[in-house]
């Protein structure tokens, strides 16, 4: 079990590495708020935080933690596609 501050920091770091980082700029606080209430996202964050490489050096082992990182990236993707700005743009065609 990790503190929300640790999870929040990791989440922010992953967001910065996400392909949706520019599109989600300005929504970091809301994303963190929703993410930290979500059970599956918190479990994924905790798995990364518990990883020995991350704990010692802050390095995210992409292969070993692929599933956990994918979960969090799916969250970012969902937020982007559920945003009003995407929907308005898509409606315009």
């Amino acid at each position: 079990m990790y503190e929300d501050t640790q999870r929040r920091e990791l989440l922010q770091r992953l967001l910065e590495q996400s392909p949706y980082r520019r599109k989600l700029r300005g929504q970091e606080e809301d994303i963190a708020r929703v993410a930290l209430k979500n059970v599956s996202v918190c479990k994924a964050l905790d798995r990364v935080l518990a990883d020995p490489d991350y704990a010692s050096s802050g390095r995210i082992h992409r292969r070993r933690l692929a599933a956990s990182v994918a979960t969090i990236n799916h969250l970012f993707e969902w937020v982007y596609f559920a945003s009003d700005s995407f929907v308005e743009r898509a409606r315009r065609g």
């Binding site: 392909p19 809301d30 708020r33 929703v34 209430k37 979500n38 059970v39 599956s40 996202v41 994924a44 994918a70 979960t71 969090i72 799916h74 969250l75 993707e77 969902w78 937020v79 982007y80 596609f81 559920a82 945003s83 009003d84 995407f86 929907v87 743009r89 898509a90 409606r91 315009r92 065609g93």
Partner: protein, 552 residues
């Protein structure tokens, strides 16, 4: 609150409560409506960014990633949370119960589908279609239902204003289903309580999804349509922010004497006295109120000598599948994005035991505010997904079809040890799909898959049904001819208490495949006329208004 004894105390302002209060007040009778929630500001829905108003992008604490948050469409900020709603936190493991505890209730977010039950749908009820026909007509006119005369035996026609024109997506789906050439299958213009006449100030402007709340008040709601007609009447009063906790009676007396409430602002307990009490708080809250009203002579709750209060909980289980239609690829986006479901679909199938069942639902095509289609794009490289999603966006359709309810006495509400934030005991829910329901859902899914493929559907995305997401709750204070079999009689009067009535979905003994709201409102209309006929002589003007209304 003063110490008056009100002639009629109506708990709840949703589908049933709104109609019965309006009709009684128009008849000149003394009515007090008691509502737990507040009146929403007139600009509440206009402040929402179109097209939707999903709370937290539809993401719930239990939404799963990867994959799609399946119940995203139901994550609206108006839905009561675990601290406010009637059911306990643990109840949602078995059954998700959705409530809006503000003035107007669930109708603040309802889809407005308004269809009559057919005569055969009343099998086993102590009332029949003939008892309700004139009240169906009166209610349809009161709430303005759009539709067309379709002459279908299983779906009686009504008193309609014009239906909305079909779009290209509607015609593609309609042709596909008609091409399946199944018997007793119909695809017709949807029937909804929406103002479609373009010369009206609140005409539907097709700018949003009905279930997000209507920005132009085209969708019928009690606060915007009927309340303005009665709230200035000297014989009508509405009190909001007043949570009903329990009913009280004098010891040894069957009659209810008072409704005990908690002022949600001050926290004080308030005692409201009345001559007749009408509970219209919904199929989850009304039984809860009865349980919490237990006394020494009724240890299992008031109106519960039969043991039926809380039992026979029903909902319409559903299957919803979505796809992108190849026939719509490359077509320009439609500016007509609202009133998403223009089609009503009805059909039948047969189970392995030889029994037939009907199912009913609609096709939804509009701007999507939660990206349920994402799972289907996972095979596409991430860099291309936004482009492809935009290209396909206007080609998505969903078919959502409902199965009939399954009246099982063991699907039930029971008193809980948990309490809400007002300190009022909640209810636990026990609920399980029967084998018959599961087989029905399987058949419905097969129908939808075939229809969507015929319509040029590409990847199909399923929304697994979770119990409670039909939001058509019924059965928990069922009507019955005999007191030992139910809670209320054919006139919705409690068998155990001569001055207690119930007027919401809880009174429906069975639930057909069709949406139940119009029938709830029709029963409310009938109840009001019944009570008005029993009432002592009233002002001549009110009598004329009632007669004029019945003659329409």
């Amino acid at each position: 609150m003063d110490d008056r004894v009100h002639d009629y105390v109506v708990v709840g302002t949703g589908a049933g409560g709104g109609i019965v209060a309006h009709q009684l007040a128009k008849a000149g009778l003394d009515v007090l409506s008691v509502e737990q929630g507040k009146r929403l500001p007139s600009d509440y829905f206009t402040n929402r960014n179109p097209p939707g108003a999903r709370k937290d992008w539809g993401i719930r604490p239990d939404s799963a990633f990867p994959g799609n948050p399946r119940d995203a469409i139901f994550n609206h900020e108006l839905f009561a949370d675990t601290e406010t709603r009637s059911s306990s936190r643990s109840a949602e493991r078995a059954f998700l119960s959705y409530q809006v505890m503000e003035l107007g209730g669930l109708q603040n977010l309802w889809n407005a589908v308004s269809v009559r039950f057919a005569p055969q749908d009343f099998s086993g009820w102590p009332v029949g279609y003939a008892d309700l026909a004139e009240h169906y007509a009166a209610t349809e006119k009161l709430i303005t239902v759009c539709g067309a005369q379709d002459n279908i035996p299983s779906l009686p026609d009504g008193c309609f204003i014009p239906a909305k024109p079909l779009r290209e997506a509607d015609r593609i789906i309609s042709d596909a289903i008609e091409g399946m050439k199944r018997p007793d299958t119909y695809v017709i213009a949807n029937r909804k309580a929406i103002e479609t006449r373009s010369d009206r100030a609140n005409a539907c402007a097709q700018i949003g999804i009905c279930t997000s709340g209507c920005m132009v008040d085209a969708v019928y709601r009690f606060p915007t349509r009927l309340l303005p007609e009665i709230e200035q009447l000297p014989n009508y009063r509405l009190v909001t922010g007043m949570k009903a906790i329990r009913l009280e009676r004098r010891p040894g007396d069957a009659e209810i004497e008072a409704l005990i409430c908690r002022d949600t602002t001050s926290g004080e307990e308030v005692r409201i006295r009345g001559r007749r009490f009408i509970l219209a708080a919904g199929a989850i809250e009304t039984p809860r109120l009865l349980f919490n009203s237990r006394d020494d002579a009724a240890p299992n709750g008031l109106a519960n000598s039969s043991g039926a209060v809380g039992r026979y909980l029903q909902d319409n289980a559903k299957v919803a599948l979505s796809t992108s239609l190849l026939k719509l690829w490359g077509k320009p986006a439609s500016s007509d994005i609202g009133f998403a479901d223009r089609l009503l679909i009805l059909s039948k199938d047969t189970l392995t035991d030889g029994s037939e069942f009907s199912f009913c639902g609609h096709m939804i095509h509009t701007v999507i505010d939660t990206p349920y289609y994402l799972e289907g794009l996972q095979a596409v490289p991430a860099a291309l997904r936004p482009w492809l999603a935009r290209k396909l966006f206007n080609s998505y359709v969903t078919l959502a079809l409902f199965a009939p309810g399954d009246p099982d006495p063991e699907n039930r509400l029971t008193p809980s040890a948990d309490r809400d934030r007002f300190g009022v005991p909640q209810v636990d829910i026990t609920y399980r799909y029967s084998a018959r329901t599961l087989e029905r859902l399987e058949r419905i899914e097969r129908f939808i898959r075939k229809a969507l493929r015929r319509a040029s559907g590409t990847l199909l995305y399923g929304a697994p049904d979770r119990p409670g997401t039909g939001i058509h709750y019924a059965g928990t204070c069922r009507m019955s001819a005999l007191p030992q079999d139910g809670v209320v009689d054919r006139n919705l009067r409690a068998h155990d208490h001569p001055n207690l009535y119930i007027c919401d979905g809880s009174t429906l003994p069975t639930l057909p495949d069709k949406h139940l709201t119009l029938t709830i409102m029709t029963l409310a209309n009938r109840l009001a006329h019944h009570l008005a006929a029993e009432a002592p002589a009233r002002p001549a003007q009110a009598v004329r208004e009632m007669a004029d209304f019945r003659a329409q």
